[in-house]
Symmetry: C2
Subunit: 184 residues, 2 copies
């Protein structure tokens, strides 16, 4: 519930009044349950972030060729976005470079998780470069950033409860684009 409000208005744009309203209660009542706006936000996000990284790692370390792993990763991330909607998007849409100084410790941790996640993708792609299953015409990090962009940008338009396509279809389409390309 509070997550939806954060998703719709962003952290800075959300006041505890907005959340209290959404919950049909009073702002002061909210403080009976949470220590601060920051606490509330972190509590919402905390669990989901780890899950995503763990999935990526298990794909990297699992069976399959590099291209298969890239596909699995894209599809499973999209599936997570839908499953935990809107929790993961709440985090992604926050530009962690823009957080206020007080929130810096937490922001650093989150950036680390993002960084680790991206690294997993880079490693998968680099393995593909090594064994020749993926084109090494460009550096693996740049290819990874492109993929992360495609996927991460869905926070701006994808709502699993309203979209005409499923998260899996989106993931599959993106994987098709990025692996096989759009050329007919």
């Amino acid at each position: 519930m509070a997550a939806s409000v954060f998703k719709e208005r962003g952290f800075r744009g959300t006041t505890l009044n907005h959340i209290a309203d959404a919950l049909g209660t009073d702002r002061a009542t909210l403080y009976y349950y949470v220590g601060s706006k920051e606490d509330l936000f972190q509590e919402i996000v905390r669990e989901a972030v780890g899950v995503n990284l763990a999935t990526a790692i298990s794909i990297r370390d699992g069976e399959g060729t590099a291209p298969e792993k890239v596909r699995q990763l894209i599809v499973s991330v999209m599936a997570s976005y839908a499953e935990f909607y809107p929790v993961l998007y709440v985090l992604i849409q926050e530009n962690l470079d823009h957080v206020a100084p007080e929130r810096d410790t937490w922001a650093q941790e989150m950036k680390q998780v993002n960084h680790d996640f991206t690294d997993v993708l880079i490693e998968i792609i680099e393995a593909g470069h090594q064994d020749g299953t993926l084109s090494s015409a460009a550096p693996a990090w740049l290819q990874s950033y492109g993929i992360m962009g495609m996927v991460g940008w869905t926070n701006r338009w994808f709502d699993p409860n309203k979209a005409p396509v499923s998260a899996e279809e989106i993931g599959s389409t993106f994987a098709d684009m990025v692996l096989g390309g759009l050329l007919a």
Copy 2:
């Protein structure tokens, strides 16, 4: 100058004190030149947004096959991001769904521009579906959103003054990925 501050902190995270400091002056002096924080922001962004859309339209209406146009569009957008850096990113990184009510009129206009831009890309891709030069396995809008994501997400990591690769290289890599795919 002020644009850099907005880029680094986001609209909400930027105070006029931050900007005044960056300019080595006083906040009140700033108000001698601009009517409000909002005015300042719009003034910075106004010009650049139109340019980008115009470029897209001229590519759509120009010579070349659909795949060539997709490539041109991606590369030219990346080039614009670098040329006008950080102005276009300042706008992109603002999630226009999160703006405060007072800013709504302006936000609607900006959303319209974004929408028009995306539409141009969709039209290019649809033309490719028609003439068989691009795969129509997925809807054109979804393929477009993927491309917009790749490109738009660069606001999180690309700084033309620091990056080890040029905007054109990035654009070219993304075009390669999306058209030919990464499969070797």
